[in-house]
């Protein structure tokens, strides 16, 4: 049962990254691909129907973690206290920027919200990447399973660790590039005109950067946590996910070269799902690695809730998760085709 919930939680976080990743990515590249006000509105129209629902995957994944692995959630989130609040404030600012921008026809008002949207999206991508790096590298868990990390220490990725060091900054930059590439690919699919052309150019360049940095990040992960690759070698699921990621990035390059924007976006989703799936499968059963030794790590078995409660939760989860996917399908279907910017004064 705990294994099942590990897979569910990992899958939900992976879906979150693939979905909210594209609207974060659209925010990251928006200053570069959209230069006039109608073009900015085109970018917002492309993500408008989706971004709120995409963000719900973060809450739902957090909820899955809460019910299935309360110890992991409690230690992890309180240990990263400061970083979590910076993250929440970015989510807050970004949501307000998207919602409030178009209400007032006034260049300064819009420029200010465009800046908040782009800056918060960029910071969020870096934070998520750094958070991922922290999980891979490990945190200083004590014997009761608690920790508190400062924002940074000596940048060495060795105890005493901080949230930021050379490795987590590297994963943060990688996430920024990967989500930027993902967002640019999405915009290439959903927009037309100059925004489409610029998005495709941006996507090509960003994907080259991702392809170069990916092996570097992989090697660095091995340096800070030598147990990841043996973990991967033992599990067919991890190898399959890694192959899926490789197939995804190859598809991105092939489709971008031949002009198949939708195929490129699917490849991009496959890449993100693949790298997160491979990492999670290699990491299992660890959920929060301790830098002070494996005995202190929180695993799916030591950090989990009770069997009976999880069996109950699985029942309603199997009802709710398909519903969520159906709504997502309805929204995608209703907004099929290229996004068109809202007319001035439309909506609320």
């Amino acid at each position: 049962m705990l294994e099942t919930w590990y897979v569910i939680a990992a899958l939900m976080f992976a879906i979150y990254v693939a979905l909210d990743g594209f609207d974060l990515g659209a925010g990251i590249v928006s200053p570069f691909v959209a230069r006039s006000d109608p073009e900015r509105r085109q970018v917002l129209a492309a993500i408008g129907p989706y971004w709120d629902g995409n963000e719900v995957w973060l809450l739902a994944a957090g909820g899955a973690l809460f019910v299935a692995f309360p110890r992991v959630l409690a230690s992890g989130i309180s240990g990263f206290y400061f970083a979590i609040f910076l993250l929440l404030w970015c989510l807050l600012g970004r949501g307000i920027a998207i919602e409030f921008r178009s209400h007032v026809v006034e260049p300064l008002w819009r420029a200010a919200w465009d800046f908040v949207f782009a800056a918060a999206s960029t910071l969020l991508a870096v934070f998520f990447g750094a958070a991922f790096g922290n999980l891979m590298r490990g945190v200083s868990l004590d014997r009761d399973g608690w920790f508190a990390l400062p924002l940074f220490t000596d940048w060495s990725a060795r105890d005493p660790v901080g949230i930021l060091d050379w490795y987590t900054v590297l994963t943060g930059v990688f996430a920024l590039l990967a989500l930027g590439a993902h967002g640019a690919t999405f915009l290439a699919w959903k927009t037309d005109g100059p925004v489409h052309d610029r998005s495709r150019r941006a996507a090509r360049r960003l994907w080259i950067a991702v392809a170069v940095l990916w092996p570097v990040v992989t090697a660095a992960s091995h340096v800070v946590n030598s147990s990841l690759f043996p973990g991967m070698g033992r599990r067919w699921l991890a190898i399959a996910a890694a192959l899926f990621a490789i197939a995804g990035i190859v598809a991105v390059f092939v489709r971008l070269a031949r002009g198949g924007d939708f195929g490129a976006f699917l490849g991009s989703c496959a890449f993100l799902l693949g790298i997160i799936g491979a990492s999670a499968a290699s990491y299992f059963p660890v959920m929060l690695r301790a830098t002070g030794g494996d005995a202190l790590s929180l695993t799916a078995y030591t950090g989990g809730g009770d069997e009976a409660g999880l069996r109950i939760a699985l029942r309603w989860f199997l009802v709710g998760a398909p519903l969520a996917l159906i709504y997502l399908g309805v929204v995608i279907w209703l907004h099929r085709g290229k996004a068109v910017a809202a007319a001035e004064g439309e909506g609320y």
Binding site: G62, Y327, E346
Partner: protein, 452 residues
């Protein structure tokens, strides 16, 4: 109490009080919008659709702020109350996760269609989007109340060998009687907020002689819904008070400012609790009524604070006492206003009665205050427990987060929320100044390709 605990509590209290200003309106409006869209379908014509469109725009702005201020609430269980999450996560995590899965996805998927899709959907389709949003927002409310009800009146759980709580009976937990009564009370109170805000805007337009036909619809629907909902608030509030009397007698004693136990208990209408002297100063008492309200007979003995150890008293009796009395007082005033307004409407004089229109226009903050102090009554009454009788608040805070860090984030929230509040009022003010408008071919709801 150590400093960190004070700041943890302040931060949670501040962020949730602020957050709840928005969902109480959207949950109330969600129902009223469904009613307006249904009337629009039945009567044909565009009057009710124009009215609904205006409120959907107000709903959208409120919803946006509600969503972004709600996200920190979910996270604070982990950031600030980590020991509580570790202790009870297997139980309360269920309802919190269900809220995400069953309610948030529904809301987020259909809000965009309701706000932006009037031109793209058929009339029935747009009505169904309103229904989906109503279901989503009311379900969301249920899961939150069910979570809170467990903290007020824990049922369906067992204590495991390691001391953590486990879920044993799912249905007892999800359909706890406390959850059902508190939910009913809470939701009709949210409708009171929506109805009074609607009536206030209608009164404002009528007094300034603008948008008159639509303003009349706002007024009539507003005061009718306000009357029905505020009567139901009283009925459900009475049910809830009886539950408190039975299961949290110490909270009832503190809410009532009752320091001594005894039969034939009187209802304290006014008075100032003097906790150090253990008495109520300047009391105005209606004899025997508390016994009757709490237990159904005038002789029933009602426990006072003296029946409980000092350690189990709610830790802010004064604030709890005033919260409860302000809630009850405002509830009475709001019911009276709605009753008189509906009488005037029946007499055909509502839209010409300037004093009543002034009262309706200025009364809209009152339900907000009543809802806020109502929540404070529930939450302060639960103290000093996080889970009543099971787990104390002092045991629940995160062990590794010190006071300085929490104060930093608390100050950050104060600043951000102040800015957010100013922006919100600015945008709502613009919407009200702009007023309801028909769906014009080139205007709202119309979609036009940028690169035609």
């Amino acid at each position: 109490m150590d400093d960190a605990l004070v700041f943890h509590r302040l931060q949670f209290a501040f962020t949730i009080v602020y957050h709840y200003l928005f969902p109480q309106l959207t949950m109330g409006l969600a129902l009223l919008i469904v009613i307006m869209k249904a009337l629009g379908l039945r009567q044909g014509g565009e009057r009710w659709n124009d009215a609904a469109r205006f409120w959907i725009r107000i709903f959208g702005i409120n919803f946006a702020v509600g969503v972004v201020t709600g996200i920190p609430m979910e996270f604070q269980f982990g950031t600030n109350w980590a020991k509580f999450s570790r202790h009870a996560g297997s139980v309360i995590g269920q309802t919190l996760a269900m809220e995400g899965l069953f309610a948030f996805f529904l809301e987020s998927s259909f809000l965009f269609l309701l706000v932006w899709g009037e031109r793209r959907l058929s009339k029935i389709g747009h009505f169904l989007a309103a229904v989906a949003l109503f279901l989503g927002s009311w379900l969301s409310g249920y899961f939150i109340i069910a979570t809170n009800a467990f903290m007020q009146y824990p049922v369906g759980h067992a204590v495991a060998a390691d001391g953590t709580l486990r879920l044993v009976d799912f249905w007892a937990f999800v359909l706890s009687p406390w959850a059902i009564v508190q939910y009913a009370h809470n939701m009709v109170a949210a409708v009171v907020t929506g109805a009074f805000v609607m009536a206030a805007v209608g009164a404002y337009y009528t007094l300034t002689r603008r948008h008159l036909p639509t303003a009349g619809l706002f007024l009539r629907l507003g005061v009718t819904a306000a009357l029905v909902a505020s009567v139901l608030v009283t009925v459900t509030g009475d049910r809830q008070a009886k539950l408190v009397a039975r299961h949290q007698p110490v909270a009832l004693a503190a809410m009532e400012g009752r320091f001594e136990s005894g039969a034939h208990a009187g209802l304290n209408v006014i008075g100032q609790p003097n906790v150090s002297a253990r008495r109520l100063d300047n009391p105005v008492v209606i004899p025997w009524v508390l016994s009757f309200l709490a237990f159904g007979t005038f002789q029933a003995p009602v426990q006072g604070l003296d029946a409980f150890p000092r350690d189990d008293w709610p830790d802010n009796i004064e604030l709890l006492y005033y919260s409860f009395h302000i809630m009850a007082g405002l509830g009475t005033i709001l019911t009276a206003i709605a009753f008189v307004a509906v009488l005037l409407w029946w007499a055909g004089r509502l839209e010409r009665s300037r004093p009543m229109l002034w009262i309706l226009m200025l009364a809209f903050p009152l339900p907000y205050i009543a809802n806020t102090v109502g929540w404070m009554t529930a939450e302060l009454g639960r103290q000093p427990w996080l889970i009543f009788g099971v787990f104390r608040t002092a045991q629940g805070a995160s062990p590794t987060v010190h006071a300085g860090t929490v104060l930093f984030t608390l100050i950050g929230f104060c600043g951000l929320y102040l800015a957010l509040g100013i922006l919100f009022l600015f945008l709502i003010g613009r919407e009200i100044a702009h007023g309801p408008a028909p769906l014009s071919p080139a205007g709202r709801g119309h979609v036009e390709p940028v690169h035609a």
